[in-house]
Symmetry: C2
Subunit: 324 residues, 2 copies
């Protein structure tokens, strides 16, 4: 391991308040060949990995370092939330260009560590390398869920209602602004869902505990793509009511985003779930609004129904990131 990497690891160690915490789930952390986690009897282990690449998922001139770290780890935490699980440990593989300012690295690591600890996860290991081009980060989050209780994408049945937490399109609205070639950076406070999104960990756990969700996913790729994942994996179709989709408010003065962003904009990290028709879904859980946006149908098509009752097929539109 070249010396700069050892210095980085020392720094990460010293920044991580939970380093060498004993008695928790992490028995041995940074500083051995592997991290050692103690698995609880009766629990399944959840594992998710997410690549975050400079120029694809963020740009250094658009995103403060702390936002980049925060968003990196939120992607993984949100995947754990979408299974109804509890985050346990975070692993960070990080490749940095040689000329990256130390201040940037510190801000990035602060974003990772603060957000991990907020959701009860320990930074337990990872890998470092020198990057030939741009910042490259792969985040692995491990979580736990009672044995056999993880909420999968495969459980949707014809007749189930389709629900979404919070509001959609808020993160993509920031991307539209950023792409617009503006001179000044965006104010993160006007687009919190883009710069500092929060994963719906507690909400996901409640949906699982109360057995309310039959299938669940997080809206990382956008409603049209994520709903298609549930339908593909469950072997069903769906009808979505355009007027029912909760659209985010952004900017100052604030305005509602376009339906297109609500349908296809990614990275909101809300929960999209289905529920059996006999399940009463609260209007809010933990202060977060929950909206019914349609229902699961037989067949394999996903239809969008507008206010006049016109139906058109809703095709999954890949959410593009930042590359020009």
């Amino acid at each position: 391991m070249p010396l700069p990497e050892r210095a980085l690891i020392s720094r990460i160690r010293s920044m991580s308040a939970s380093e060498r915490r004993t008695g928790g789930a992490v028995v041995a952390g940074i500083g051995d060949d592997c991290a050692v986690l103690r698995a609880n009897a009766g629990r399944d282990v959840l594992v998710t990995t997410d690549f975050t690449l400079e120029g694809v998922h963020f740009r250094r001139d658009w995103h403060p370092a702390e936002s980049v770290g925060h968003r990196c780890v939120t992607r993984g935490l949100s995947d754990i939330a979408a299974m109804g699980g509890q985050p346990v440990a975070v692993f960070l593989s990080l490749a940095l260009p040689g000329d990256l300012p130390q201040r940037w690295v510190d801000g990035f690591m602060r974003g990772i560590l603060n957000q991990s600890e907020r959701y009860g996860a320990t930074l337990a290991g990872g890998d470092t390398a020198e990057s030939p081009n741009g910042v490259l980060a792969d985040i692995v989050v491990l979580g736990a869920v009672p044995r056999g209780q993880a909420v999968l994408r495969t459980g949707a049945r014809s007749g189930d209602g389709i629900y979404v937490t919070g509001a959609l399109g808020g993160s993509a609205a920031a991307v539209v602004q950023l792409r617009d070639g503006r001179k000044k950076p965006l104010d993160p406070r006007q687009y919190p869902r883009h710069f500092f999104p929060e994963p719906r960990v507690k909400l996901g756990r409640i949906l699982r505990e109360k057995k309310l969700a039959s299938a669940m996913i997080d809206t990382s790729d956008g409603l049209s793509v994520d709903l298609a994942h549930i339908c593909d994996e469950s072997g069903v179709g769906a009808e979505v009511e355009a007027d029912a989709i909760p659209l985010a408010r952004v900017g100052r003065p604030s305005h509602q985003v376009d339906l297109k962003l609500g349908l296809h904009g990614g990275e909101d990290y809300e929960l999209l779930f289905t529920a059996r028709p006999n399940r009463r879904i609260p209007a809010r859980i933990e202060g977060v609004p929950i909206t019914r946006i349609g229902c699961i149908k037989r067949g394999r098509k996903i239809l969008l129904v507008n206010g006049e009752g016109t139906r058109q097929e809703l095709l999954p539109q890949g959410w593009e990131h930042f590359r020009k």
Copy 2:
């Protein structure tokens, strides 16, 4: 998720014979927000992550695609071996340039999948992205070890013997050849430890089961660096006998590598371990020679002793990868 990524995931799914294997440790694999692993009671979970970057860890003109995939996953399997553990699941985060030939991807995936299955691990998930520059792969390997039995780097004590499996410097010898500006590609059969190294999984497990190793690491960074890791983490020093270091034979006709490569060359993926003076260490385990190369001392210095008894300090020399 853009469509090329979905196509890649389908391809990985169809290539992975163990996809959707049920009844094993992997309950749900590729195709949900997280993979779900069933943890056995009485076992700890081992986690290791390793970045493999084109131009840093491999070059497409030097390494066949299958060798790149094989080496990627061997890095993680070897970390599990160094804890005395059993590999369980592999996760692959993969970012590929848009113009990468499908043939390359297929060869790379074959390397990953064959090597994972050889050691009993299932490819259980990951992430895909389009890379702005070169192939980027982060491999996560999860393993299992009986509770509290993982062999750590912290257990070396003054008086312990220092042992290494196999031979050292064979992988670095290939790098020396490759760097030499040669026209023809190297023949992987003449440098198997570089192109197709095997992790010492079974050997590591036997050392753990028989309680022979007090501390253990794999030689991924090179003897001088990896022994320094054991000494750092255990708070001890060491004396290494130069003449005792088992040097690899490479090439055709085969020749022994220089001591310098044995001391500092990385990526051999042998096991370096310490053992209490009262432990009898076999000369071979599972057909692999085991060589005593020195002993652990008080203090913090690592000394190299040559044939005439002269001592000099052995400083950790970072193993450089392929970048020019």
